[in-house]
């Protein structure tokens, strides 16, 4: 079984170039038994990136994954506040390039209608759509989405595949929010390795909708892999979460690009 990590970043990682940073990540991935990384966003982040910054971030990811085509996949970073620039990036990086997914962060809450053209184009291209979400008792950022926002979007696009980033952070609430929506999957990455998260995700969503991701460099492979390795689940369920589910979701677009899965 090969572990596929849904959620990796170039920020917070040593190295002066995207290639060096991904190389560094892969050294640790090798040590931890992780085979493939999905990489998104650039070396320095912006909450509300300009079209120029989007292109710069995506260029960095393209450089990184082209250096390690057997080990890494790219997701294109978009900003719904810049519709045409985002559509252009989708076409450049996914239709005409090697990327296989979309990353949406905190520029705008994702229940907004401004997401619709981006989601529709991503669906046409077969790209997996990863939306950061969090429910913070301390208060969300102005453009930060909740799982409930994502559900509103997913209901408008029932044939697109979405990932609920961080399972909503407050996962006991986030998993409840998405459970009735089969086109929304749970990303385990990015929060503390709080025991019970993975068991609840499987119990509420079914194992097929649960995906391992690390949120590395902000987190460690160790703390995030522990959410699966340490869970009270069958070996078959762990294999599904660690790689098989993501492989199934990405296979159509990867195969269309000639990548063997």
């Amino acid at each position: 079984m090969e572990i596929w990590d849904l959620h990796a970043h170039l920020s917070g990682v040593p190295g002066d170039t995207p290639e060096a940073r991904l190389g560094h990540l892969l050294e640790y991935a090798d040590r931890m038994g992780v085979g493939r990384l999905c990489v998104f966003m650039g070396m320095e982040w912006s909450y509300d990136p300009t079209p120029e910054k989007l292109r710069e971030d995506n260029d960095q990811v393209l450089r990184a994954i082209r250096a390690y085509p057997e080990r890494a996949f790219g997701f294109v970073y978009l900003n719904p506040r810049h519709t045409q620039a985002s559509l252009d990036e989708l076409n450049r990086c996914v239709r005409d390039g090697p990327m296989v997914g979309v990353k949406l962060w905190v520029a705008e809450r994702c229940h907004s209608a401004s997401l619709d053209p981006l989601v529709e184009r991503a669906r046409e291209l077969g790209a997996l759509i990863f939306q950061h979400t969090w429910i913070k008792i301390t208060g969300n950022l102005p453009g930060e989405s909740t799982p409930m926002d994502l559900v509103a979007l997913a209901k408008r696009h029932p044939t697109a595949n979405f990932v609920c980033g961080h399972s909503g952070g407050d996962w006991e609430m986030g998993l409840r929010a998405i459970r009735a929506h089969p086109n929304v999957h749970a990303d385990l990455g990015g929060g503390d390795p709080a025991a019970g998260l993975t068991e609840m995700a499987v119990r509420e969503l079914g194992v097929d909708r649960v995906l391992y991701g690390s949120d590395i460099g902000g987190r460690s492979f160790a703390s995030q892999l522990a959410k699966v390795h340490g869970a009270e689940l069958s070996a078959a369920s762990k294999r599904a979460i660690l790689g098989e589910n993501l492989r199934r979701l990405l296979s159509p677009i990867l195969n269309a690009k000639g990548v063997k899965t």
Partner: protein, 288 residues
């Protein structure tokens, strides 16, 4: 193959095995590396959620599977219960009954409550504890409270290790009726210098206590920290730039955290043999 490679290889095998059968997982669990002492586990039930390993028996089984030979155990009852004497007695009884000597009880003490000194006396004289655990944020006091100095003196006189839990969970996802700030450790260096013989272990500290405040604590020579909340790529390796090897202990924060998180950090960071040994057991041996 040196010993480090062997350890990493063994643990990585165990990683892969965790998606296999329980029998295979058991065979792959690390047997090498000497003893493993976990200074940060808690027994009982977390107030807002049932945890997969919140029975002492199941937690003991998990710890034993991973080679833990000793686990310093507080009680979740120590967070919110007013009658800490009874909570500590229950903890001590569980530690005697379960785990075959695995658990070493750490009673909860709140130095702002009436007659707290008798709580400490019971921990030492009745329950034979070697350490106590403080939850200043859940008990509603800061470390510059006058009672803290008195407590450190009593603890030093009794040769008790004082554990301070800096946080228990991510502030962003706390229950709305159970929100607390991380403990501010700024007053601690001066307090410790004023009480020779103090030995303080900070639990769950290394997410919020970093850089200069951490260096100031280390400069006292009387503070230890543990790995449970270290994050980032190869986090233990990075923290060893700030924390002397003999001040860094193994702590899992189980069962609130998956035990494997701390355990796998030993694999993720490329550690020399002497560093691994120190974190696993040697540093705590010198402390205890």
């Amino acid at each position: 193959m040196n010993r480090r490679d062997f350890l990493a290889g063994t643990m990585t095998t165990a990683l892969a095995a965790s998606a296999m059968t329980p029998q295979a997982r058991g065979r792959a669990a690390p047997k090498a590396g000497g003893p493993l002492v976990d200074v940060n586990v808690t027994l009982g039930q977390w107030p807002t959620r049932r945890l997969p390993l919140d029975s002492a028996e199941r937690l003991a089984r998990k710890l034993r599977e991973h080679g833990v030979q000793q686990a310093w155990a507080g009680t979740f009852d120590g967070l919110l219960h007013k009658d800490l004497g009874t909570a500590n007695a229950r903890l001590a009884e569980t530690c005697r009954r379960v785990g075959g000597g695995l658990f070493k009880a750490r009673g909860s003490v709140d130095p702002t409550r009436p007659d707290w000194e008798d709580e400490v006396r019971r921990c030492v004289d009745v329950h034979r504890m070697r350490g106590i655990r403080l939850h200043p944020n859940y008990h509603g006091y800061r470390l510059d409270h006058p009672a803290m100095g008195a407590l450190l003196k009593v603890a030093a006189a009794a040769r008790l290790i004082v554990e301070i839990a800096v946080v228990m969970e991510d502030e962003r996802m706390m229950h709305p009726l159970m929100r607390v700030e991380p403990v501010d450790t700024a007053p601690l260096p001066d307090l410790i210098r004023a009480v020779p013989g103090s030995r303080v272990v900070l639990l769950n500290a290394l997410r919020t206590v970093r850089a200069k405040p951490l260096l100031e604590l280390m400069a006292t020579g009387s503070v230890w920290v543990e790995v449970s909340m270290i994050e980032g790529l190869g986090g233990i390796r990075a923290i060893l730039d700030q924390v002397p090897r003999d001040r860094l202990l193994f702590g899992s924060h189980a069962p609130l955290f998956y035990f494997e998180s701390a355990w796998l950090k030993l694999v993720e960071s490329s550690l020399a043999d002497r560093e691994l040994e120190s974190i696993r057991w040697k540093a705590v041996q010198a402390l205890d």
